[in-house]
């Protein structure tokens, strides 16, 4: 029977690849047992698909859909969703309201296809009334949105899946693993005397051109930004990162930010918050005392 993922073995490294979360997914690991390798590969695929179908805002009938269609009613969420919402809440607090999982509605006001945009001011002010984590009543395990509000785990879900899959490798007797879902990466290798994982970092402005290599035993890498998605407003170029407070794209934002940190989720949030800092992105990143790469046109 055809498996929905590929598992191969070469130079003592297992490679499992599949497509999920709108990205090519690749998991490299070392296992002395073919049985454990197979089990882990299957589990990796299943867990990734589970997280995708649970937290994707594009799929109907999941918890996100249930919350977004709750029409002002209180919704009880499960333990895992509760952890995600707690985390989103902390990100909102730590970023002074810049990282906001309720800001997705702004997508309806802007089209990032490189064209000149003049947003409908009335629509924008209507939308802003439906945006803001502070308007959400989150009393675990119950969440209550204003009618019409929406949330999405866009900035958290994939990174969470990457870390989650890497963490569970240990229970499959797998000591060394690298999880790479479309450039969001987590590595585990507790044996610091053995060679680290070596990761090529791609220039997000130029496809297939590695701009450097990073050696990492244990850590996470994430990139925020997309040079292909931008719009023009009064002739000025804006990236697709929107400020949830104003409803307008962030001015002078980098085209992309890559961050190396302790895990993928942490790296992803720092990269996203850096983008939201616009022209001060580098200053913000410097202050975090982390390895990063900030790309500007």
């Amino acid at each position: 029977m055809n498996k929905p993922y590929k598992l191969s073995y070469k130079n003592s490294i297992w490679t499992c690849t599949f497509q999920a979360m709108a990205s090519p997914c690749e998991v490299l690991f070392i296992s002395s047992s073919e049985k454990d390798a197979n089990l882990f590969a299957e589990f990796t695929f299943d867990e990734t698909k589970r997280i995708e179908s649970k937290f994707s805002r594009y799929l109907p009938d999941n918890i996100v859909h249930k919350i977004n269609s709750s029409n002002g009613f209180k919704i009880e969420v499960d333990e895992e969703t509760s952890r995600m919402l707690d985390f989103a809440n902390q990100c909102y607090q730590l970023s002074d309201g810049l990282f906001d999982i309720s800001s997705g509605l702004l997508r309806n006001c802007w089209t990032f296809d490189g064209t000149e945009q003049t947003p409908d001011k009335d629509k924008l002010s209507t939308m802003l009334k439906l945006i803001g984590w502070d308007k959400i009543n989150w009393e675990p395990p119950h969440i209550q949105l204003l009618s019409g509000m929406e949330i999405d785990f866009g900035g958290i879900g994939k990174e969470y899946a990457v870390d989650h899959v890497a963490d569970i490798a240990l229970s499959f007797k797998i000591s060394k693993v690298m999880v790479n879902f479309g450039g969001d990466i987590r590595t585990i290798n507790p044996d610091l005397d053995s060679p680290p994982w070596v990761i090529g970092i791609e220039n997000p402005n130029k496809e297939n051109s590695a701009i450097g290599k990073i050696s990492l035993h244990n850590g996470g890498i994430a990139t925020s930004g997309d040079s292909k998605r931008f719009c023009l407003h009064h002739g000025k170029r804006f990236g697709h990162i929107l400020n949830p407070k104003t409803g307008y794209p962030i001015e002078n934002a980098p085209t992309a930010v890559s961050v190396v940190s302790e895990n993928c989720t942490q790296a992803g949030i720092i990269a996203t918050i850096a983008m939201l800092h616009g022209k001060d992105a580098e200053q913000f990143l410097e202050s975090q005392e982390i390895t990063f790469k900030c790309y500007r046109d």
Partner: protein, 420 residues
């Protein structure tokens, strides 16, 4: 100031991500507990308590243990027919007797029993698509013990849209009735009268096979079909059931009892059933319709139709009304009474459970989430069983009596489920 605030993000995020990722695959323990009260009008009352514990050993294995205790008391039909005068029956133990007033279906009020049951199942995910389980169960009451083992395998196909499963079980039962195992067609003894018995106990073995397929039709529709086959062999009588032998139509009192003989059933039974179920998810609500057809080589056919609808309210409480209709035909060897002068059939029973009857169940379940992983469930069921009050084969005075009084029963259940 700004710098300090920014510096804190990284370390605060480190803690936040640890919490987010900290609770890994839950090695959760799920507990389900229920208390049930069942009451038949004028007949049996029962109470049952059950606790089921499921523990995830790791991502691929779990064990489940269930403990059940129930207590039963009340009266049950002994198989004899009503009569125009008081009937006296010896209790199964041989000590003492009970009297039944004229015109009434005789009920043996001796029933008083408690049962303890334990079962365990170990489930293992063999690979991404294959699952396996193995289990054992035991139950004991003062006159009956049952020991069983079971195992099964399931496999997902077609992107998990189809699951095929097969399971088998074997059960070995032992009955040690009060007063010993009666000899079929032996006359019900009078008080103090010594009577020969087959022995102190008897055994029965049951082999079951279940084949199932579950198919996802589309995102909102699920279809399931099962075929099950069961083969029983050994002592299949109810040791407390007998039947009346009544005076024939040329006698002075046609229909009045002369004597009572212990029932006699075949020592093998093959049962089959086909079950189909369709479940549809409608915007959070669920509608579920199932039909089961059963047939065996004792001549019984039955049909069961079950319909339920689940209302999922915004606050996560659910309300689940259901209705079930059941009808069965009688076993080939069922007779309400035997008429004096006719020779014994090869097999005979007057047990109402093997006669033609119908039943309707109306139920309502209300489920209330209490906190994160706790749920309270309340359910109520009303059961009504009705049969042929004047079945073929009656004569004389028997034609005046209700041979199948309608049975009404209610059941109330409280369940509390939680995980930790």
């Amino acid at each position: 100031m700004q710098l300090n605030k920014q510096l804190s993000i990284k370390s605060a995020l480190a803690i936040a991500t640890t919490v987010l990722l900290g609770a890994q695959i839950a090695k959760a323990t799920d507990v389900e507990s229920t208390l049930l009260i069942y009451s038949e009008k004028d007949r049996v009352s029962a109470g049952e308590g059950a606790v089921s514990i499921k523990h995830e050993l790791n991502e691929t294995q779990n064990i489940k243990i269930k403990l059940t205790f129930d207590a039963l008391t009340g009266a049950s039909p002994n198989g004899a027919a009503p009569a125009s005068s008081v009937q006296t029956f010896t209790r199964p133990s041989g000590n003492g007797s009970y009297d039944i007033q004229p015109g009434i279906i005789p009920l043996d009020d001796t029933f008083k029993d408690s049962r303890f049951a334990v079962s365990g199942t170990y489930t293992r995910k063999l690979s991404r698509l294959n699952n396996f389980f193995i289990g054992a169960n035991f139950s004991g009451e003062h006159d009956y013990t049952s020991l069983g083992v079971n195992t099964g395998f399931s496999r997902d196909f077609n992107n998990r849209n189809r699951t095929i499963s097969v399971s088998v079980s074997f059960t070995s039962d032992k009955v040690n009735p009060e007063g010993g195992v009666p000899i079929p067609y032996d006359t019900l003894a009078l008080i103090g009268e010594s009577t020969s018995r087959l022995g102190p106990n008897a055994t029965k073995k049951v082999y079951d096979l279940l084949l199932g397929v579950t198919q996802t039709i589309n995102r909102n529709t699920l279809f399931r079909a099962n075929y099950s086959r069961s083969h029983s062999t050994g002592y299949l009588n109810d040791p407390y059931k007998f039947f009346s032998v009544v005076e024939n139509s040329s006698s002075a009192n046609p229909g009045e009892p002369l004597t009572y003989l212990y029932e006699n059933r075949p020592d093998a039974r093959n049962k089959n059933s086909i079950y189909t179920q369709c479940r549809k998810f409608l915007n959070g609500n669920v509608i579920d319709l199932s039909y089961r057809f059963f047939w065996d080589d004792w001549g019984i056919n039955s049909h069961t139709i079950n319909l339920f609808y689940l209302f999922d309210f915004k606050n996560n409480t659910t309300l689940e009304p259901h209705i079930r209709w059941y009808h069965q035909s009688a076993a080939d060897f069922y007779i309400p009474v035997q008429i004096d002068g006719s020779s014994n059939q090869q097999f005979t029973t007057a047990d109402y459970r093997l006669s033609t009857f119908s039943a309707v169940t109306l139920g309502l379940q209300y489920s209330i989430p209490m906190q994160a992983t706790h749920t309270l469930k309340l359910s109520f069921e009303y059961y009504r069983q009705f049969g042929d009050s004047s079945p073929p084969g009656l004569i004389g005075s028997l034609l005046r009596y209700d041979m199948f009084p309608t049975l009404n029963a209610v059941m109330f259940r409280v369940g509390y489920n939680f995980s930790f």
